[in-house]
């Protein structure tokens, strides 16, 4: 009894004197573990474990999910962007494709009806922007309908390789709204070599033509470059910006990002659930953490697309957990 009381006094002394978030080991001997747990709960600390008579306690107050999320700028809040993989098949088979898309890939389309419902539910639950991606969305012959439905609710971006703006698909493009829609077209380099190396011979020229067509049709065009580590020297970067200046692409509409180590890519930036700020991503197979890993079981959040609000809440909750943990880890590993 007195032993337990002494333990409580030690807990107050040791944990109370620690910095918020610190993990504090406290000798608790053979004191009742349940008592230690109750004390932690009352005091707003978290009992992590008790091993060999030593309790490890995270010093409170432990920020709740809202407090953790409040640290993230509004535009990066998990759940504000909704990514939808309209389909997984593609006319290209880029060697770094994070979605493992190719002409042989199964379509796995979400379909207009479910997309409409996803966007409607998302808009009700804090989504402010929609990104339609794939695969190549322009392979879908109902893409214009899908885009119109999305734009009617929220600002929308369609990611495309820009190579299919001909015939029926050009007519489909022309039928899309200009307001509230942006096309994000992939172009990796200032000259064909680098781009074609990863994306296939002749693809650079056709992407460039696609950018021109979309611009001529009055669309807002963003250009996204995927760059291998070490591939973009200063000269290449300057030449690339020169090309985009000539195409009339706004500076703010240029996205240059490294290859992610996902999908077909052998090397690249390693992205994990813990290291990525999530952007809720829906495919025909489920809801995923982030669009770079929409085909990867390790980033699957749920197989249930509906209600989307539940999946968004789950992503926010898990993200708050990781953030809390990593901030506390950062405090533990400060080197100076």
């Amino acid at each position: 009894m007195v032993g337990d009381a002494r333990t409580l006094v030690d807990l107050v002394a040791r944990v109370g004197a620690a910095a918020a978030g610190e993990r504090v080991p406290v000798q608790v001997g053979d004191s009742d573990p349940e008592l230690v747990g109750r004390w932690c709960e009352r005091a707003g600390h978290r009992l992590l474990r008790i091993d060999d008579g030593v309790a490890v306690i995270m010093r409170g107050p432990i920020p709740d999910d809202d407090a953790v999320l409040a640290e993230i700028p509004p535009e990066r809040q998990p759940g504000t962007r909704l990514w939808i993989y309209t389909n997984f098949d593609c006319n290209l088979a880029c060697d770094y494709c994070c979605a493992r898309s190719s002409p042989q890939a199964e379509r796995r389309a979400v379909g207009p009806e479910r997309i409409r419902r996803l966007v409607a539910e998302g808009a009700e639950h804090g989504v402010t922007e929609v990104y339609l991606t794939g695969g190549e969305p322009f392979l879908l012959l109902d893409l214009d309908e899908i885009v119109r439905d999305c734009v009617a609710r929220l600002p929308t971006t369609v990611l495309t390789n820009g190579m299919l703006f001909r015939g029926r698909r050009l007519r489909m493009l022309r039928a899309m709204p200009r307001d509230g829609l942006a096309l994000q077209i992939s172009l990796d380099s200032a000259t064909p070599d680098l781009h074609d190396l990863h994306r296939g011979a002749g693809s650079w020229q056709r992407a460039l033509d696609g950018i021109r067509t979309a611009r001529d049709e009055g669309f807002r065009v963003r250009v996204a470059a995927t760059v291998s580590p070490g591939a973009a020297g200063t000269d290449e970067t300057a030449a690339f910006h020169g090309l985009l200046d000539g195409l009339g692409i706004e500076r703010a509409d240029r996205v240059i990002r490294p290859v992610a180590q996902r999908g077909f890519a052998d090397d690249g930036v390693t992205l994990t659930v813990e290291s990525l700020v999530p952007e809720v991503t829906v495919t025909a197979d489920g809801v995923y953490w982030h669009p770079v890993a929409a085909d990867h079981a390790d980033q699957l959040v749920t197989r249930d697309l509906f209600p989307l609000a539940d999946a968004i809440d789950e992503v926010r909750r898990r993200f708050a957990d990781y953030r809390r943990e990593s901030e506390l880890a950062a405090q533990r590993f400060t080197c100076a």
């Binding site: 009381a5 409580l8 004197a17 910095a19 407090a67």
Partner: protein, 271 residues
């Protein structure tokens, strides 16, 4: 130009830095800018307030009393935490010691916290005197750790509880915050028990001299009181600083008992 105030606080735990950085960040968006300096003890903090180095001091009740005494009352309390309005001292014994009232302490040993702690030393002595116990009636065991910090660290009180558990004392006087931190008698009813609880009194406050312009004081207080428990970022700071829910205006009546105790016990105004 935006008004600015410099607030002094005593560094009694490592958490003082995130607390005051959080409050400073909160004020960065407000009508008055605020920055802080940390002192190692309340004595020098009060000196710094009086000599104008700082505009406002986050003072304990004893530091407030001493500021009033040193300035002949030319100072004012601006605001306090909600918990500062209802502070209490409790007397605790081992369970089964059959102490029912302060008068039962006659001939017993009472462990007190640091002699500059209002809650664990100065007021307990007054309460015992008021209960008719003279200096020779009770053996006081003083545990003077962390002097200068007015009992903020709680260490002397915890050492006093250890003395009680070791049967080196028959009773101990604790601030209500320390008693609750141990779990009061809910977590260990078979080990310790509270047998007397004081009336409520006031603890910390933000102290300024009369020379602080009224409009600046008002901007500071209004913005402080607007801090919201419902805002997750602000709540983190408030929790760390020990607020129950909100900052409030001070109630000066709650310091009367300490003024009396300081006078009765001949505690100097400056140290």
């Amino acid at each position: 130009m935006r008004q600015a105030v410099l607030v002094g606080a005593v560094a009694y735990t490592t958490n003082v830095v995130p607390i005051w950085e959080g409050i400073r960040d909160y004020f960065a968006d407000g009508p008055v800018e605020m920055d802080f300096v940390l002192f190692s003890n309340y004595g020098r903090q009060v000196d710094a307030l009086i000599d104008g180095t700082i505009d406002i001091a986050w003072n304990t009740n004893l530091a407030w009393v001493r500021t009033v005494l040193q300035t002949d009352g030319r100072c004012r309390a601006l605001a306090m935490r909600d918990i500062d309005r209802t502070f209490q001292t409790v007397f605790v014994s081992r369970a089964g010691a059959s102490l029912g009232d302060l008068a039962d302490l006659r001939g017993r040993r009472v462990a007190l916290g640091s002699r500059d702690s209002a809650q664990a030393a100065i007021l307990p002595v007054k309460y015992m005197r008021d209960a008719g116990l003279g200096t020779d009636d009770v053996e006081l065991i003083r545990i003077d750790t962390d002097l200068g910090k007015h009992g903020d660290t709680g260490r002397s009180e915890l050492d006093a509880v250890r003395a009680l558990l070791d049967e080196e004392a028959d009773a101990v006087a604790l601030g209500i915050n320390t008693w609750e931190a141990i779990g009061s008698d809910e977590l260990m009813p078979d080990a310790l028990t509270e047998f007397w609880r004081s009336p409520e009194y006031c603890h910390c406050n933000f102290t300024a001299l009369d020379s602080l312009p009224d409009d600046v004081g008002k901007l500071f207080v209004d913005h402080l009181l607007a801090m919201s428990w419902d805002d997750p970022k602000q709540r983190t700071v408030m929790e760390l600083e020990g607020l129950r829910r909100e900052w409030v205006l001070p109630e000066l009546d709650g310091y009367a008992s300490l003024f009396t105790a300081v006078e009765e016990q001949g505690i100097p105004a400056r140290w």
